[in-house]
């Protein structure tokens, strides 16, 4: 099942920027396999923005790492990741290194050690530039670094600073500027606002929105905080236990979540008279399931407030849940097993 990209002018533009098919990521430790991503399909058109939400441990960071093959050696990644038509998973190492950062770049979470602590931030940006453009003069590289810093709202002279001399918000901006260094068509932002306080979060989100509008870059925005996605992303996908459990236009999903997990994530109001919600505080009780011991049927049923008898025995899939909406729950309109 695929998501239809937004209507576009020409066939070339209609071809998806990113097309992920049946992605599986399995970590191998001591002979056992831990499935982090269990079959994910995603389509992203040129210039489109997609939000990917879920609790920690749902597989979204593994998903991000898999897109550019950045997972630890020994990790099994199967499926297809078509970036501008080329399958990243079968690229030769040389081609992969050339594609990294130029076609797609990652905006990492701006924690203290996301940047090399003993190198100035300017030279870390310069390294990316020089890697993909031979023969650029020192002055030209320097100018470009300054340009990128100003683009993200930092004075150019900050290039001479070390990462610990910058605030969290400033570091995050550096990481965004760094990601744009080689004009990528796709930005994968992995929890870019998680470590920041609310005011700074808003600034960074606005920055990303501006840059997206200006450069028409596609963005996959990964986070556990659904509220940050509503404005920046046009479409939303929710992940649970290694699979996508809901997707659709972000405003629709946010306002009327179809999957009970999404409902919990949005902190939706309880249904009046529903005894299941009455005693619970907002927020979801319990923990995400251990990937090595997933529940049968729908992996969410142990924590689900509206679970019914068929849930533990039904292999749920993404079924239609409205116009341009999909959800993996037996309760949705398109489910074959209406209780």
């Amino acid at each position: 099942m695929t998501v239809e990209p937004a209507p576009a002018e020409s066939a070339a533009e209609r071809a998806p920027l990113l097309s992920v098919r049946d992605l599986h990521v399995t970590y191998r430790t001591r002979g056992r396999g831990i499935p982090a991503v269990r079959g994910v399909d995603i389509d992203l058109a040129v210039g489109e923005t997609l939000g990917l939400a879920g609790e920690s441990g749902c597989g979204k960071t593994s998903f991000a790492g898999a897109l550019l093959r950045l997972l630890p050696p020994g990790t099994e990644v199967t499926g297809e990741v078509l970036l501008d038509g080329e399958d990243v998973l079968t690229m030769k190492p040389g081609r992969l290194r050339a594609v990294r950062w130029t076609h797609a770049a990652i905006v990492f979470q701006g924690a203290l050690h996301s940047l090399n602590p003993v190198q100035r931030v300017g030279s870390q940006i310069a390294e990316a530039i020089r890697l993909h453009s031979k023969g650029m003069s020192r002055a030209a590289v320097s100018a470009r670094v300054g340009e990128l810093l100003e683009l993200v709202g930092l004075p150019a002279r900050r290039a001479g600073d070390y990462p610990h001399q910058l605030s969290g918000g400033q570091r995050q901006r550096v990481l965004i500027g760094l990601a744009l260094a080689c004009d990528p068509r796709l930005l994968i932002a992995d929890e870019p606002t998680t470590a920041l306080d609310v005011m700074v979060q808003a600034q960074v989100l606005r920055l990303l929105d501006d840059l997206q509008a200006r450069f028409g870059v596609g963005i996959i925005f990964i986070t556990h905080d659904l509220s940050t996605l509503a404005d920046v992303c046009r479409r939303l996908a929710v992940m649970y236990a290694g699979r996508i459990v809901e997707q659709g236009p972000s405003h629709d999903v946010f306002e009327a979540p179809a999957h009970p997990y999404t409902r919990a994530l949005t902190g939706a109001f309880p249904v009046i008279g529903d005894p299941a919600f009455r005693m619970q505080p907002a927020g979801l009780p319990g923990d995400p399931p251990d990937p090595r011991e997933l529940p049968t049927g729908c992996p969410f049923h142990p924590r689900c407030p509206v679970a019914v008898e068929v849930c533990p025995s039904t292999p749920v899939e993404l079924w239609p849940a409205g116009a341009d909406r999909l959800a993996a729950c037996v309760h949705v309109s398109g489910s074959p097993v209406r209780p």
Partner: protein, 322 residues
């Protein structure tokens, strides 16, 4: 580096030095109950001669008075006279410092270089045969007594195969002078230097390996790979410089230690340095010599600790720009 950091460290070192000097005095006061008798062992002294000498050495003063004398003399580098050779302790130390510095310096550099390279290889190929064999080898060399290794090498290569001289720093019968002495000296330094290098490289390997393993878990390495950097360059440009910081500190501190740690090896190879002097002073017992050597060893430890602190502070920008 802030001057505050600098002055704090230097002041700390000076305080420790002062402590050592005082400690040295009291320690040897306990040991040496009758310096006059010890200095003139084997010579019968009359009462009046004794009294005269006691006064001459200022030993008739109170302990406090003696302490003040000691401080003054130490400041002037008058460290007493050796019981065995009757030469001033300071001049003996000066003569013997050179060979020790040469031996220890060369070994420290070689063991650090090889140790670090091995540590990098082991960490980068974690859990492979390379890692296990390097780690095992390092643990083994870390556990062996350095002088024992020296004995074995001596027996096999010098006595048995005759490839190297069995001791000393140069051939006593040679008439070469100046730079012409170097080839001969190089032959003499080879086995002791090899012994010390092997004995110490284990520690560098293990420390570099664990430091690099820690560094390899950091996020900025993933970032470096994501930029399109080749794995080798990720390692050399990003991981290794960060991992080296603790090793640099270790190297500087070890230089302070090894000065004293080479005592047994110098004894084995009859290497005419401070270590051999210590060995002979123990046998004496040549207490002024021991006292002087103790002071020199402590001083070198303090100095190298300070260098290690300053070097670390300079290399780590987080400390430098704090």
């Amino acid at each position: 580096m802030t001057t505050r950091y600098l002055t704090a460290k230097v002041a700390g070192s000076l305080a420790t030095l002062l402590f050592i000097v005082c400690f040295n005095f009291f320690l040897f006061r306990i040991v040496d109950s009758d310096p006059v008798a010890n200095l003139f062992r084997g010579r019968n002294l009359t009462q009046s001669q004794r009294a005269e000498l006691t006064k001459q050495f200022g030993l008739d003063k109170s302990t406090g008075g003696q302490f003040v004398d000691y401080l003054k003399q130490t400041a002037q580098l008058n460290l007493g006279r050796s019981y065995t050779s009757n030469q001033p302790v300071w001049s003996e130390i000066k003569d013997k410092a050179g060979p020790t510095i040469a031996l220890v310096g060369i070994s420290a550099v070689l063991s650090a270089v090889f140790g670090v390279l091995l540590g990098i290889a082991a960490a980068w190929r974690r859990r492979t045969k390379t890692d296990y064999s390097v780690t095992g080898f390092s643990m083994a060399t870390f556990s062996l007594p350095d002088f024992w290794l020296g004995m074995i090498l001596l027996t096999i290569f010098a006595v048995g195969l005759g490839l190297f001289p069995t001791g000393g720093i140069e051939d006593p019968s040679s008439t070469a002078t100046g730079l012409a002495k170097l080839p001969d000296q190089a032959q003499h330094i080879f086995l002791p230097a090899l012994t010390l290098t092997v004995a110490y490289l284990g520690e560098y390997t293990l420390v570099m390996r664990s430091s690099l393993l820690e560094t390899m878990r950091e996020d900025y390495l993933v970032l470096a790979r994501a930029k399109g950097l080749r794995d080798v360059l990720v390692r050399n440009r990003h991981a290794v410089p960060n991992a080296l910081l603790p090793v640099v500190a270790l190297l500087a501190i070890n230089l302070g230690f090894v000065l004293a740690g080479a005592i047994a090896v110098e004894a084995i190879f009859s290497w005419p340095g401070l270590g051999l002097a210590t060995y002979e002073a123990i046998k004496g017992p040549d207490l002024p010599m021991l006292q002087g050597l103790f002071l020199v060893f402590s001083l070198s430890m303090i100095v190298f600790n300070l260098i290690a602190d300053l070097l670390y502070g300079y290399l780590d920008p987080r400390v430098r720009t704090a």
